[in-house]
């Protein structure tokens, strides 16, 4: 009995027509999105392109840091990384 009534309610609700979309809705969406940024970056290459300046500056800073360390070691006459590598090679060859 109650199932029948419930089915009648569902059937009546199914007949309801959806409301018409208010005029200018798409334009309103567009205006609200105008303040947003572009849609998220698509791929790896795009990301690389966008962040190229940052990557370049970071890489240059890393190279300069390594050069500075190497120079300071040369002035202090500490063994450099090259010396260590040379030492390891000669040790290995003498074995």
């Amino acid at each position: 009995m109650k199932d029948k009534k419930l089915n009648q309610i569902f059937a009546a609700a199914r007949r309801e027509t959806p409301p018409a979309v208010p005029a200018g809705f798409a334009e309103r969406v567009q205006r609200s999105l105008a303040t947003e940024a572009e849609p998220v970056v698509i791929g790896f290459i795009d990301q690389l392109n966008r962040n190229f300046t940052r990557y370049a500056v970071s890489a240059a800073a890393a190279i300069m840091l390594c050069a500075a360390v190497e120079l300071s070691q040369t002035f202090r006459q500490d063994p450099s990384i090259d010396d260590d590598v040379e030492q390891i090679c000669s040790d290995w060859m003498l074995r």
Binding site: D3, L6, A12, A13, P19, F25
Partner: protein, 190 residues
Amino acid sequence: MVNDDAELVALVRAGSSDAYTELVRHNQQQVFSILHRYERDLHLVEDLAQETFTKAWRALASFDGRAPFQHWLSRIAVHVALDHVRRRKRLSGTVALPELGEDSVAWLRDELPPRELEARQAREILELAMQSLSAAEQLVITMLEIEGRSIKEICSLTGDSSVAVRVRAMRARSKLRKAIEKLEESENER
């Protein structure tokens, strides 16, 4: 003039904002059709539709084109609807429920022949009866019984398993039956 959603998506990705306006125009009626099942106030439906298209815009990079754009957008609309029903349920303790109209009461009291129940009255009764359902149950029963979607479609739109959807639908029907019984009793006592 581009008519294909996939082409419009490609244009949006290439930076055309006009293409997105066109994409909204292509799909706005479908989004309104989904959302109005969960909200009767047209202004709120419009807000929810705007939220749907804003979310779609933000997530456009994740659209891989395997399914049609319309289907992908429907999933977003369904999740916006679910969030809305959840919010409304949280507020239901503080907001007064709408009263049933005279015709709806007459129908519940069996004073009208069954065929005379109108869609608007059915919505009134359902809105009250659905208060006893969880947000997820409301979503499943609406999609299954009112929108006429298949279990498979509901699974695809909600991301739930078919067992979960079937169980929710069964529980929802049972709760609705009880809620309508209660409504009938309370209206008969008046």
